[in-house]
């Protein structure tokens, strides 16, 4: 077989193309994590370790006199909502375990479900440890119900929390739509009702798997 002769220019082009392909391949392999790396998007509202929810809209519905939510009540409820995020979301994603304060956030009426049947929706325990966490949260909409005598019966918090990070399979995005309704018990405000919807998005390669898992009863 006759030897193939490559002019110098073609050799240079070939070498360049090869290098380019290798670089592209290298970038492609790495892009599994880096192309959609959640750390690229700057956290808007709160950071993971120093996350502070802030109050957005406030709505007070009263069966009696019109009232404003006392600052102490708003602060207590917001602190409890933040404690929920820390214990139910961040702790599992960072340490692999639910925060120790989690059960104490709920009153006796919902605690069995919150620590049992609903735990999968309320917490991110099933996800495992996640790297490069970044978090955003919407302002907390506060709504309150005031009784005939001006007493605050319930204060509800509505907010969304989006957590991004990396798992072995690639970038993970978890969106929590959270409504926690608090009722006073002594000096504490405990969760007495909740509506939570959690959406977990994984890389496209694993979407089918997660969809099947979700279809299971």
């Amino acid at each position: 077989m006759a030897p193939v002769h490559f002019p110098f220019r073609i050799k240079r082009l070939g070498a360049g193309a090869l290098c380019g392909a290798l670089v592209l391949a290298a970038c492609g392999g790495g892009s599994k994590h880096s192309a959609t790396d959640p750390t690229v998007t700057t956290p808007k509202v709160l950071a993971v370790k120093t996350s502070i929810l802030r109050i957005g809209s406030v709505d007070v519905e009263s069966a009696g006199p019109q009232e404003q939510i006392p600052t102490a009540v708003g602060k207590a409820v917001l602190t409890s909502a933040q404690a929920y995020i820390d214990n139910a979301m961040f702790s599992p994603l960072q340490n692999g375990t639910i925060g120790v304060h989690y059960p104490y956030l709920f009153d006796s009426g919902v605690k069995p479900a919150a620590t049992g049947a609903d735990e999968g929706a309320l917490t991110d325990l099933g996800v495992g440890k996640v790297e490069k966490l970044s978090t955003t949260a919407t302002p907390v909409a506060l709504s309150a119900l005031v009784g005939n005598l001006g007493d605050f019966m319930y204060v509800a918090t509505n907010f969304d929390v989006v957590v991004k990070g990396n798992v072995d399979a690639g970038p993970l995005t978890i969106t929590h739509h959270v409504e926690l309704t608090f009722a006073p018990q002594g000096k504490a405000w405990l969760v007495t009702a909740y509506r939570v919807q959690t959406v977990r998005k994984l890389p496209t390669t694993t979407q089918n798997t997660t969809a099947n898992a979700g279809a299971k009863p």
């Binding site: 392999g29 009426g109 919902v110 495992g128 319930y154 919807q197 959690t198 898992a213 979700g214």
Partner: protein, 317 residues
């Protein structure tokens, strides 16, 4: 030395050709590997399952439910309960507050079902019309209806004319599916059949109209049931979050008289009640007989028995 170097660099020599072939082979192999990897990577991105690439994460990912939700309230009744909804005729110039609209709602949280029985106001009870009970208060009315139907009524929501219109206006009116033409100067009900949006005053007229019907209060009672369930359907959409729930509860606190329950517990109760689909709640008017003071008609006893056991009307009535 110079010659040898020169020879090695000449493309035509045997050593140079061999080097070139090796380089070409390496380049070709590398390109093939890169292209294959790129293809697999592209396929992986497009959703193709790549055994080696995805195998390690397959099990890890499987335990993640893509969508999960929880909706719960604590402290509410977990067992069967009955609520009496009363519309009384108290208004300026008319006292007494007779219970002209009487509807018993049975809710079975465990089975996630409910049913409603409409009691005609002219039904005889203890030698009088049953609506007279409300003149002694909501609890007395509940006791009478409880005795008639044979179910324990734990909670009563009682509204007068002003309370009813205030409630309906407070929720922005109601869309009611009017079953028949209405043209009644007494109540002021002028409606065509079909879905009609009503404000508080119009909804009151619709609920009071009995002169348009040969059976008078019987049809009126059933129409009241239609309005209640239509209103529940619309309220249910607004009751999917705390602000909507709090708004309705505050309205009830201002416009309704509650018995057996306060607003605080009504929140827990309403979350259970509004988790049910009103379109699946049967609305059955009690069978009656006679005129004037009505007696229990054929089938009334079996209707009550069906209602009594689990709050669900299973048989056709």
């Amino acid at each position: 030395m110079n010659d040898r170097t020169h020879n090695e660099r000449r493309p035509g020599t045997r050593v140079g050709r061999r080097t070139k072939r090796i380089l070409l082979a390496c380049a070709g192999a590398t390109t093939a590997v890169v292209l294959a990897c790129a293809g697999i990577f592209a396929g992986w991105l497009a959703g193709m399952h790549v055994p080696l690439a995805s195998g390690a994460t397959y099990l890890r990912v499987e335990k993640l439910a893509p969508l999960s939700s929880a909706d719960r309230v604590g402290g509410g009744p977990s067992g069967l309960f009955f609520i009496l909804l009363v519309g009384n005729d108290s208004r300026p110039g008319v006292g007494g507050a007779r219970g002209d609209a009487l509807h018993v709602l049975g809710v079975n949280p465990a089975k996630h079902q409910a049913s409603m029985i409409d009691i005609p106001r002219d039904t005889c009870w203890n030698g009088d019309k049953i609506n007279a009970g409300n003149t002694q208060g909501p609890r007395a009315q509940a006791n009478d209806v409880s005795g008639l139907v044979g179910v324990p009524i734990s909670y009563v929501v009682d509204v007068d004319f002003a309370g009813f219109t205030g409630l309906v206006d407070g929720i922005g009116g109601v869309d009611v599916n009017v079953p028949t033409q209405m043209h009644d100067t007494y109540s002021g009900a002028y409606f065509s059949p079909g879905m009609q949006h009503m404000n508080g005053s119009q909804a009151l007229s619709f609920s009071r109209d009995r002169h348009d019907f040969p059976t008078s209060d019987i049809v009126r009672t059933h129409n009241q049931g239609i309005l209640i369930l239509d209103a529940m359907t619309q309220l249910r959409a607004k009751m999917q979050n705390a602000p909507g729930e709090f708004k309705l509860l505050a309205l009830l606190g201002r416009h309704a008289q509650l018995d057996g329950i306060g607003i605080k517990d009504l929140y827990r109760l309403s979350r259970i009640a509004f988790s049910l689909n009103p379109n699946q709640i049967p609305n059955v008017t009690m069978p009656y007989t006679g005129g004037g003071c009505l007696g229990l008609g054929a089938g009334a006893s079996s209707l009550f028995a069906d209602f009594r056991d689990d709050g669900i009307l299973e048989s056709p009535h």
